[in-house]
Point group: C2
Chain length 281, copies 2
DNA sequence: ATGCCTTACGTTATACGTAATTATT
DNA sequence: AATAATTACGTATAACGTAAGGCAT
């Protein structure tokens, strides 16, 4: 049987058109390549080149062989990529989430439960997350809605409820509850990296001017500006109630989400220890 | 990059389950195989085996890698087969036929028309012929029925009609025409290597005892025995009418065939010169 | 004990580089 | 002359075999 290095050499020749050029690209001497191709021909029992005294080019067999060589090399590269990805997925847990809150809570739990694994996490669009789970890129994703799909399990993770965070001087600060449209058109402060929440605000409050801020700047501005902003029950529980702010529940359905935890039950990762930590309702 | 011999070794281990067994199958020493697999793991940067002190078996990575290795090797074998077939098809014409008669007539014509090519021919089952044509193993095949298939052309080649060849003393020797069932149950002489005709006789005359004979012996026996046998118009035209025999046409549809010539019009062989020699109806 | 895997070490096979040769532009 | 391919010959890399050691059944 021929060897892969010979197929690589064949492909180098296919691209260069001369043995000397291909040899240079391969960091190989010209005679070595010449002999290697002769061996390949002998191995295949087929001539691959038209040879004149100081000229060499593919014949039809050679062109065909090069095309197959390309496919074989591609398959080998695919093999390397997939086996390595598979190996990684066995020793790491990659968490994808549609929103920031789960990323505050889940990675510490996972690190605790799976101390011998690397825990990584990132925020992405819902559809990217779902496809990534299908492809075994993620081992665990959090979506703001349930998904029924063969091979994928879906359990409730938790809830998050959006509030307006208003300065006491705001005309609506005395409200018991509000709809998002009630503040549409005003200028609001917004954390950046809000995940899917950003889609909700854009959709329900299209006329609002959002001033996006980094986390630290956001907290400072909330403290010292009179601009309305958002908060959630999870944020309030985590960071406490900021001074000089009134938190008013938002009634829109989109502002009150249930997160779902999606994973492949037949994946190699045993996520049961983590799943047991979830609420059972 | 790893090499193909390592994938072969991986597959041998996959089948044997032990390094020593695989090494023996590969005609290789056990330590050599052990190191080779270590190199493969290092190359892939992934562990493929669970190792205990004197036990080794695949881990999940290994099983996956073996599956990909199988696919790669398969693709390489496919490459070899196709390149060799392509090479052959450029310098030879391989004719496959369902019956002997076309093999008497066609090869001389091809040799005449294509003096610089090697003409080979063989007789095979209909389905083998058709698959071989699809795979570019054959450049030209003869079947006893037409085939409509994309990429394959089909033109009428000729006809052949089966006769009973009876000794004058046979009770049915005065018949004008017969059906195959009329002689079912008797003992008959048969040439061997009849191709698809053998299927016809077995199917239509299941109770007949056929004494298969080599060509030479067959002709002798026809001359000197009183056993009925078969002949065809092509045979009669080729060999003349044997003495002391009466030839009676057989009326069954299966006994009167039209041969069709199948080939790939886009193949590299220019078979037009041959096709022009065929009848135009 | 016997079987199986690994490590160590010396050997061999084979792919490689250098040099020489020939032919083409 | 310069470029390109092949052949010849010596070299070096790397896979191999043998030997030795450890562990399990």
């Amino acid at each position: 049987m021929f060897e892969l290095y010979q197929l690589e050499q064949l492909l180098a020749f296919a691209e260069c058109g001369t043995l000397s050029g291909a040899a240079e690209r391969l960091h190989l001497s010209q005679p070595a390549l010449s002999r290697s191709m002769q061996r390949l021909e002998a191995e295949l029992q087929v001539s691959l080149f038209d040879r004149q005294k100081n000229k060499i080019k593919f014949n039809e067999n050679g062109r065909m062989a090069a095309e197959y060589a390309r496919q074989v090399m591609e398959k080998c590269q695919d093999m390397i990529g997939r086996v390595q990805a598979f190996d990684r997925s066995q020793r790491t847990i990659l968490l994808g989430s549609c929103a920031p809150a789960p990323l505050w809570e889940i990675p510490p739990v996972l690190s605790d439960l799976y101390p011998d694994r690397t825990i990584s996490s990132e925020m992405r669009e819902n559809d990217v997350l779902l496809q990534g789970l299908r492809d075994n890129f993620y081992q665990l994703i959090i979506l703001p809605y349930p998904v029924e799909e063969p091979g994928i399990s879906c359990v409730k993770y938790g809830e998050e409820h959006l509030y307006f965070s208003l300065p006491p001087a705001h005309p609506l600060s005395g409200s018991k509850e509000l709809y998002m449209k009630d503040l549409n058109g005003e200028t609001m402060l917004l954390r950046n990296r809000l995940g899917f929440w950003r889609n909700v605000t854009d959709q329900k409050m299209p006329d609002t001017r959002f001033l996006e801020q980094e986390d630290v700047a956001f907290e400072e501005l909330v403290k010292f500006s009179a601009l309305p902003s958002f908060t959630t029950d999870v944020v309030l529980h985590r960071e406490g109630n900021p001074v000089n702010r009134v938190n008013i529940p938002i009634l829109d359905d989109e502002a009150n989400v249930t997160y779902y935890c999606l994973y492949k039950p037949h994946g190699l990762n045993d996520l049961n220890a983590f799943l047991k930590t979830l609420p059972t309702d």
